[in-house]
Amino acid sequence: MSADKTRGPTRAKTGEETIAFTFDGTTYHARPGDTLAAALLANGVGLVGRSFKYHRPRGIMTAGIEEPNALVTVGKGGRAEPNTRATDLFVYPGMMVQSQNRWPSLAFDVAAIFGLAAPALGAGFYYKTFFGPAKHWLRYEAFIRRAAGLGNAPTEPDPDNFSQTAGFCDVLVVGSGPAGLKAALEAAEAGSRVMLVEQDAVPGGSLLRDPDPAIDPAAMVERIKALGGKVLLRTTASGYWDHNFLTLSQRLAEPGAVPPHGFAQRLWHVRAGRVVLATGLIERPVPFANNDHPGVMLSQAVRSYVRRWGVLPGQRVVIATNNDDAYLTAQALVEAGAEVVALLDARASGPAAPAGVTVYHDARPSSVTGRKHALRNVTAVIGGSEQSFDADLIAVSGGFVPVSHLHMQAGGKLTWNEEAQAFVPGETPQVCETIGSALHPPAAPAAAPAGKAKTSFVDFQNDVSLADIDLAWQEGYRSVEHLKRYTTLGMATDQGKTSNMTALSRLAEKQGVTVPQAGLTTFRPPYTPVTMGLLAGAGARNAGAHVRRIPLHDLHEAQEPIWQPLGYWFRPRAYPVDGEGLVAAALREAQTVRTVAGLSDVSTLGKFEVSGPDAAALLELVCATTVGKLAVGRGRYTFMLREDGFVFDDGTVWRLAENRYLLTSSTGGADRMAHHISYVRNSLRPDLKCSVVNVQEHYAGIALAGPGSRRILAALTGAEPPRHMGYAPGVLAGTPVHVLAASYSGERAFEIHVEATHAAEVWRAIEAATRAAGGAPYGLEAMELLRIEKGHVVVGGEVDGRSTPHDLGLGGMLNKAGGFIGAAGLTRPALSAPSRNNLVGLVSLEGPIPEGGMLIQRAGQSPQGHVTAAARRILEGGAIALALLEGGHKRHGEELIVTSPTRGEKARVRVTSPHFYDPAGERYRD
């Protein structure tokens, strides 16, 4: 693209243009330190993007993070970052940039036709049309959705990591302008632990635009660092939360670039003793017709491009202002060799202008016309009459907005500065202060807009004009929040940084009140948008949930089992041999347990050692069954209730010694059980003399079950194993173990608990002996078949959080003396209503029983219950299931239908007792 020599943005070549990058496929060259915006302007490119709604051509308006127009996609593949501000992106070698929201090209965008329909598409037009059934709206919507949106999201996974790091300091200073630098250095010199945060790539803030020979930012930064301070560049304080906690987002690499250490960004979680906000000002644009065209730029931005980057954004420049600051821009432009064709000052008087610059007072721009990359002409209302200027750039300043976002996020209040027409930070509830220009914005009196409302844009990205604000007012959307939501003002990626105050002024004018009376919108985090990957951190890979490994993971892995995720755990589900599938393997394993013996890993069970003279008293509070009468060396099944009387866990309790018990509970409930017991012991009964220690991970658990289990274990330990529900310590493979004679499978069975670090030896010994006897390891799936056939309930299945002990057939085991947690809740009438869902068994009369299926008497009926678990008889064959059925205890023998419409399955079943196998327990009792 060849720049017009006398029009549009330009920069004299110096040979420093050493960094090559591409924009929409064209290669350009930039100097080190250039932002993309500076580099594009230097190469004569003024047209950078298209607006959201009307697809109007847009250029570069600012030189900072407030940029509403110049949004691009940078990078490729999984690193591509859409909607990146050209003003907040430092050029690096090989950088690839694409413009957005245009088709087929930036210069010719078909969707610009929306602009023609603009008169019918004012604020909230969509609320007034597209009626008909919701399905019709889906069709309109598909079209609207494609037209909306900005860039494209990547479709590949992100190759980079994101770090999240804790930070602590006495003083956190946000902003490295003159005020921030001074505050940070003073704090560091006073011995405080200091963090100084700057969103730019170099320190200095406004000094980069308006250098002060008396202040050397780089030297001050070095001094702060030497005093032990931390200075973070390319870092934005994006959130200010409770108790002086702030989140800082740091770029370790520019968007789209390959990061040097594999980490693209770092999120700092900082707790600060004191926070100093030196966040400066953002300049206000000026509303006039077509004020969104490339070549309309904020005055300070123009000065930044001229002074910091040596770029002339235009060569024939009109300046429009309501304050003194823009006169400095005139000065900078004149020094750089541009022609300032007019300085329009809305005020009746102003300071002296640079030599050769004509100042017009009582002068406001009313419209501009433009060509592709620059303006053609500026029209102004001067006094009462219009005058046109041949110009390629207009630098505007409508006053200044203090950056008070963090102050407000911290819960701070704002006060109105009438002279500056600006809200400035006031009181704050946190240990926080604002300093510098954000507290003292320059005077800038209000000036009424002079152009046509319809194309006088306020929110540039979302195409909200003065006319839209007027329409919202007319239709009764008069609170600021209604106005914003109705017009979408301030909802774009710049979050209204350049639009909020202009809109508020218009609203105040409509209401005939002052701006502070018209209201104020709140600022919530983030200050500038933050990548989701950064907020996810390492959790992007694992959802914030590390896999929990069982102690024998590697040993099982060697047998190539089918693994089963269970909460965060992974457990063997089956050990297939000879190409077996899951179903066949599980059935073989279960049959082996029923006929010979099997061993299984039960390490994830919740386990608690409770010791001390009051151990039994604590357990009788936690457990709903009796505990205190257990003899040493004996155990029993138990269950626990929530305070509302419903069953929430079950397990076994064993008296290991006079004052020592072992309580087991379900895998899934182990963490909440640990918390619950701690609550009961420490909060409710701190007086009890006992110790509760969570030994879930200390002990690995191995279940050995089957008719041959007793003989196998006796041989391994050299001792007669305990009888059913007995406990004995023992030694197996040279390792001390606890042997608990408990049966989940319905066979004679033992749990062998061993310190996890020695579990492998014990497992190997038991496995060898079991295999020698014709047995085999079994996984969760076989365990499920065994327990369903036996009619044992499982937490998360039949124990569904809505069942009472009576529902589950456990009512008879309740501690008659009461006094346990949940006893009070259990007395409520609905917990003993006859229509409650009760645990029953189902035997199929026809067809396999779908798990989760609904129980009905006839088609079309509302369900009366559901199948909680289905299986087949292990040795006999035939489908069985456990179910919860309305009034089920009294419905044994009834015939019902199990239906699963989502799977198209159905079965005819008979209701039975849930105990299909050895209901008397003869197979494990002596």
Binding site: G78, G122, Y126, Y127, F130, F131, P133, A134, K135, L138, A148, G149, L150, N152, A153, P154, T155, E156, D158, G239, W241, F245, H269, Q474, E475, Y477, S479, E481, R485, Y486, M491, T493, R524, P526, P529, M532, A536, G537, G539, A540, A543, G544, A545, V547, P565, R642, D644, G645, G801, G825, P850, E851, G852, M854, I856, Q861, S862, P863, T902, R903
Partner: protein
């Protein structure tokens, strides 16, 4: 009579600068008494007022809003609308509402942009899939649409989900409700307000209730920042602040106020077609018409009235979302917001009478109030008009906590912070 909304009228406006539109609702002074006062100008309160006027012919109604209408939870949610609950009391209630949603734009003559694009719950293991089937079967038996999807079918709808087996929580399938979707939340409040106003309901903004007028065990009106206003029946409808307002009448509720956060990213071209939720993870994702990815997670599970969430809670939800859909990684979180939710003690709402005569309660919506707006308004209007619950809200009584007839969808018991 207001100018009806239509494409024709919009086109007419193209030639007159849209100068023909009147205010969507009036700004009346409060009268000294009404038949019914509804405290709270949120979605539910405005909907209840609309149905009182439309269905029950009771038009002498005031909606009192302490701030601006729609500024509470109806304006700060993630706009999901669905009826895919496991428990019959819940799915029947929400299904009634879903049917109202499908015709709401026409009914109100205000496009609320209800978009039935489908809402899916992902399952990540066999246990999840059985629970999803159970839920779907329960719904289907009661005549509500639900369909199980295989990973291949999911891939056709949401190709950007990580459907690989190496995902931390691999996706085994999903339960989708096609008739579920999203709506434009502000439009719901504004649409109900405009329609209620047209039927004569007084919508009174900047009018905070500071106390109740009491005669024995009967409430006869309210004290407000704009004076005393009397009414035969007064309905509380201030979810988020129910505990506080009921406290003014001396009631302690089975409710704890918690913060629920949500966020939206910068807009991108369409990448998420449906509403994605998960049976095992605690985040939900959809894409707005403007292109922003809207998502949320679990509440900050401790009590607060501040509309100010904690960053780490949000980061946890985002980690889950990015792990499910890695393409979200380079999108940027643009805006966050929080609502104050009424966490009830079984997770289900409370709509009905109270121990005090003349005082009615609509509360306890937890994080599911938006989708309930039409059904809640409809049944609350019925209750306010007749003094008795509609059959759909009868199970959601305040007494159920003391009797034990709780409606506990997630089955975690009485502690809202465990929910």
């Amino acid at each position: 009579m207001k100018t009806p909304y239509s494409a024709f009228s919009l086109l007419r406006g193209a030639f007159n600068g849209q100068k023909h539109w009147e205010p969507a609702w009036r700004d009346p002074e409060p009268r000294s008494s009404y038949d019914v006062i509804i405290i709270g100008g949120g979605g539910h309160g405005l909907a209840a007022a609309y149905y009182l006027a439309k269905v029950h012919g009771i038009r002498n109604v005031a909606v009192l809003e302490k701030s601006w209408i729609g500024g509470g939870n109806v304006g700060r949610n993630t706009t999901l609308v669905r009826s895919n609950y496991r428990l019959p009391q819940l799915h029947n209630f929400f299904e009634f509402g879903l049917k109202l949603w499908h015709n709401l734009s026409d009914d109100l003559n205000y496009n609320v942009m209800f978009s039935p694009r489908g809402a899916m719950f992902l399952g990540h293991n066999d246990g999840d899939m059985i629970k999803l089937a159970e839920r779907g079967d329960a719904m289907r038996c009661d005549g509500i649409d639900a369909e199980l999807l295989s990973p291949k079918q999911i891939a056709k709808i949401e190709p950007l989900l990580d459907l690989s087996r190496s995902a931390r929580f691999p996706i085994d399938g999903a339960l989708i409700q096609w008739r579920a979707g999203t709506a434009r939340h502000d439009a719901v409040a504004w649409g109900y307000a405009r329609a209620a106003d047209a039927l004569g309901v007084d919508i009174i903004q900047k009018c905070e209730v500071t106390g109740f007028v009491r005669d024995g065990n009967r409430i006869t009106g309210v004290e407000t920042t704009r004076g005393r206003i009397l009414a035969a029946r007064t309905g509380i409808c201030v979810a988020g602040h129910s505990g506080h307002v009921a406290g003014l009448a001396g009631l302690r509720l089975p409710i704890e106020a918690q913060t629920l956060q949500a966020l939206v990213t910068e807009g991108v071209k369409p990448m998420v077609q449906s509403v994605i939720m998960s049976q095992s993870l605690h985040c939900y994702i959809s894409q707005s018409d403007k292109g922003g990815i809207v998502m949320g997670g679990d509440p900050d599970n401790w009590p607060s009235y501040a509309r100010r969430g904690q960053p780490t809670i949000k980061e946890g939800a985002i980690a889950q979302a990015v792990s499910m859909m890695p393409a979200l990684s380079r999108l940027r979180m643009l805006r966050t917001w929080s609502g104050v939710t009424d966490m009830s003690f079984d997770g289900a709402p409370i709509i009905g009478t109270t121990p005090i005569d003349g005082l009615y309660l609509n509360a306890g919506w937890c994080y599911g109030g938006f989708k309930a707006t039409p059904a809640s308004g409809w049944t609350y209007a019925h209750t306010l008009a007749t003094g008795k619950p509609h059959e759909l809200n009868a199970p959601f009584s305040l007494e159920r906590f003391m009797t034990g007839a709780t409606i506990d969808e997630t089955a975690v018991g009485p502690m809202p912070n465990h929910r």
